[in-house]
């Protein structure tokens, strides 16, 4: 069992995350890649900026990894998150999970991204042509 967590300000690489969870004991590997969308409610996005409270973000991501390995008996979990300035289409987050059977891989991967969006102290700012917004900050 292995949990691999990383936050970095350089491009993320899906093949690294796949490699981190490959295991001959696993028949299923689920991969989620979150990318920068070009608009929010019809308003064109120019680019995004992510910032993290890194020590806590790492420990919260580690907690998610541990929950997954316990709840779904996942063999391996890899979560990589970007910080800094991202262009449209860039990868913001990658989650890879491997489990003996496919159902658990899908469920665990979905749990990981849903929980990350609720608990991990990382913030996203959308930059538009005529302004910028910290996502989800206001009601």
């Amino acid at each position: 069992m292995a949990i691999k967590i990383q936050i970095k300000d350089q491009a993320l690489d899906p093949s690294t995350c796949i490699g981190a969870v490959q295991d001959q004991a696993c028949g299923g590997l689920a991969l989620f890649i979150g990318t920068v969308r070009d608009q929010t409610r019809g308003r064109p996005v120019q680019h995004l900026e992510f910032e993290a409270y890194e020590p806590m973000a790492l420990s919260e991501m580690e907690k998610i990894g541990k929950q997954i390995t316990e709840r779904w008996a996942a063999n391996h979990v890899c979560i990589h998150h970007r910080t800094g300035r991202l262009q449209l289409g860039d990868i913001a987050v990658i989650i890879a999970v491997s489990t003996p059977h496919r159902k658990e891989a899908f469920e665990a991967c979905q749990y990981a991204i849903d929980t990350l969006k609720e608990t991990v102290p990382i913030w996203k700012k959308e930059i538009f042509e005529d302004g910028e917004v910290w996502v989800a900050a206001h009601p």
Binding site: G34, E51, M56, S59, V93, I122, W134, A137
Partner: protein, 80 residues
């Protein structure tokens, strides 16, 4: 007696700085820190929510703060 306050995302914009020290005079709990912040920076009340993490952990509002704690203001997160 002092604590270190760190702010990220919109909280950093509201404070106009990433880091400040705060005297613990009259402050004993996390809830007191929140009240202090809202009173001094009313923009915190406009947020959907904000919580405080003490030494890298989410804590309940009634947790006591002590000298040397690192407290981070956590506005609604939006990673992923």
């Amino acid at each position: 007696m002092e604590i270190k306050l760190l702010a990220f995302g919109i909280a950093r914009d509201i404070l106009h700085q990433q880091e400040m020290t705060m005297d613990l005079n009259g402050i004993s709990s996390v809830a007191d820190v929140k009240r202090f912040l809202v009173a001094k920076y009313p923009d915190f009340e406009k947020l959907k929510s904000f919580s405080l993490a003490v030494n890298c952990n989410y804590v309940a509002d009634d947790q006591l703060v002590k000298d040397g704690d690192e407290i981070v203001i956590i506005p609604p997160v939006s990673g992923g």
